[in-house]
Amino acid sequence: MNDSACRSRSGLGFVIGSHAFLEVRLADIGQLRDRAAPRGSPLLPPRFLRHADEHTVVGMQVVLTALAAHPAAPRIASHGIVAAPCQPGRIVGAKTLAEFGRGGGVTVSPHVVPQCSLHSVAGAVSVALGMHGPHLGVGGGPEALGEGLLVAAALLASGGDPGCTGVWLVATEWDEEPGLDAQGVPLTNPACRGLALLLEPVAKPDDGGSVVAPVSFDIRMTKPPHGPRLHPTGGLVAFARAIGMCREGGALASWAVACPGGGEIRISSRFQPAVSRPAEPWMRGAA
């Protein structure tokens, strides 16, 4: 167990070190594959996202955006990542099946499994940014965000990687699932939403100021009887908005939602001073 995680009998608490939220139209995702990363974020290997699923492209961009917004330079090599996409790989999956129906196994791309499975968003971010903490895909369905929150918190608190100093939670979903024709070509232009949170252990006072964010994040399981299994109220957009308001110290000081299995996720303001760290070599544009 990570000693600095705030733990009670049935609750886990963390701080949100950084966050970002993006919405990108399907038509714009193609150019995002090759677009330069935000200033202050790491460089990706050339053409790294060429075969990536749309959820991965948006997930990568939102992590880079959150990294660029981080007030310090986190030790990303010691981070893990939990990515919770909702129905990833559907557009590629539809094209693959349509082509398979016409031409058989020879038409199936070798990239489908590594790039369009549930683990692919987490795998791509982990590889691109050189993360050595664990990486996991979670959810895959309509309740992906709630599932991702449960897994990310548990992963950071578990003893599986004692060197892990932070876990990213990345959630992605279409605002409306794209309609596809019989060849797998999209008929609509929905927006893919992406949320990235960096969860870090609650720092102890003698840690030298490793707390860099003013927002806490707590998960607590209720005792039986369990409540109904719920997606966080309002979904990803409402969740992202609540985090943003808490981080800005706005009127919303606390926000709680039910999570799968009768638990509760509570986000609340926790004002603590930010402490800068030296820039790491991969930080572009750093002083």
Binding site: P88, L97, G105, H132, E147, V151, M221, G261
Partner: protein, 417 residues
């Protein structure tokens, strides 16, 4: 430990005292049988579950080598007519999940706060494919259906947290790791965890086109040859396993049978490549070392290593180097085998199935063999168990699982005390 690559953490460290997490129920479906006894019998007899199927015209080869599950029947408590309506992935998950719960023998009406963690890597791709091949059009329709894990939870009467996790070939092992974490956090009193996978035409084609599958076309039972000089890829299989996990005090209090202890978990990522395992063994070794530390076990106390070794030229060497690095001087006395030589590679279900293999090794005090290990690759210098099982005292067993994207997981299984 230095997550950035340092090996300073490889020494065993003290760990905080905590209640051990025990396995109190288990079940599997696999190419080697659908009961724990049949699976163990086949493993220790060195029987291969790999067969040849005459492939249809869409397949990449006219004769396909696979390790298939012969058939799965409706478990007790599930209406056979309803079961027959489920797709194959749901059947292959529901049957062992229900059997594992039954094996845990909770008293009627006395079931504790129960969670479910399902390790499946490509649920939606498989579901869409099964539907498409049956003439459906789900994949083209703008809809969102409930995930398999929530349908399973509903059928099994599980009302606690339920999640799906995926880490490619390590998926079902991460399910066990996460369940253990939930128990230690007090979120659940017991947790059903495991995973399963199924063969499908497009996944076979994708792995073939990726050049990950063996291209041998003579004897199917000779195709899967981990650590052998002549290995040329893995044989795809299907199946998996599920376990009920509980903390020891609660399990003992209700009189549960203790089948083994999930004593340690270690995890890491290569951060190197989307498909190819890193040639640098440090991160994989770090996962093994972390699992040992988590279990409070030194390398010298390890009695058996069930290797991930799928039979790929690069992956087997990378794992051998990681095992040697993590176990250091203890390597020579620790038997290592890869049971994928018999079961094929169960992909998402592999890690849970191989945890069950480790429990069988502890139960039978023997190490299952690596079939087809005619000429061990000198680049994989380990204490192999070729061809036939070895009688050997096993109190502590390691199970490695490594997945696409450089996902590394090691579980430590220990005899129940």
């Amino acid at each position: 430990m230095d997550a950035g690559g340092g090996m300073s953490g490889l020494k065993a460290q003290s760990r905080p005292e905590r209640e051990p997490v025990m396995i109190t129920g288990m079940a599997a479906v696999s190419p080697l049988g659908n009961t724990c006894e049949a699976i163990a019998d086949n493993l220790f007899a060195g029987r291969s579950g790999v067969t040849v199927v005459e492939a249809d015209p869409t397949a990449r080869t006219p004769r396909q080598f696979v390790a298939a599950v012969a058939g799965v029947g409706a478990p007790a408590g599930i209406d056979p007519a309803d079961f027959a309506q489920l797709n194959r992935l749901e059947q292959m998950c529901l049957a062992p999940a229900a059997c594992a719960l039954a094996d845990a023998r909770f008293e009627r009406g006395g079931r504790p706060r129960l969670g479910l963690v399902l390790g499946v890597g490509a649920e939606h791709l498989k579901t869409w494919e099964l539907d498409y091949l049956a003439g459906g059009s789900l994949v083209f329709e703008p809809r969102r259906d409930p995930s398999l894990v929530h349908r399973l939870a509903s059928r099994l009467g599980i009302d606690g947290p339920a999640v799906t996790v995926a880490a490619a070939c390590a998926s079902s092992g991460y399910a066990l790791a996460l369940a253990r974490s939930w128990l230690e956090s007090g979120w659940v009193d017991a947790c059903l965890a495991g995973g399963c996978d199924i063969l499908s035409p497009t996944s076979l084609a994708a792995f073939y086109n990726l050049r990950a599958l063996s291209r041998r076309d003579d004897d199917p039972t000779k195709a899967s040859r981990p650590f052998d000089r002549g290995r040329d890829g893995f044989v795809m299989g299907e199946g998996g396993a599920f376990f009920v996990l509980e903390q020891r005090d609660k399990a003992v209090a209700r009189g549960a049978r203790l089948r083994g202890e999930l004593a340690g978990v270690g995890m890491s990522s290569d951060g190197a490549h989307m498909v190819i395992p890193s040639s640098d063994p440090v991160q994989a070794a770090r996962a093994i070392s972390a699992a040992l530390t988590d279990a409070g076990v030194s390398p010298a106390e390890v009695d058996y290593v069930n290797a991930h070794a799928a039979g790929t030229p690069v992956g087997d060497v990378a794992e051998a180097n990681a095992i040697r690095l993590a176990l250091s001087g203890a390597t020579d006395g620790v038997p290592v085998s890869s049971t994928k030589s018999m079961s094929g590679h169960l992909v998402s279900g592999a890690a849970a199935f191989e945890a069950l293999v480790c429990l069988a090794a502890i139960d039978r005090q023997a190490v299952p063999p690596t079939l087809n290990l005619d000429e061990p690759d000198p680049a994989c210098p380990l204490d192999h168990v070729p061809h036939v099982a070895r009688s050997h005292p096993v109190e502590v067993a390691l199970s490695n699982s490594f997945g696409f994207g450089g996902s590394n997981l090691c579980l430590v299984l220990r005899r129940a005390a």
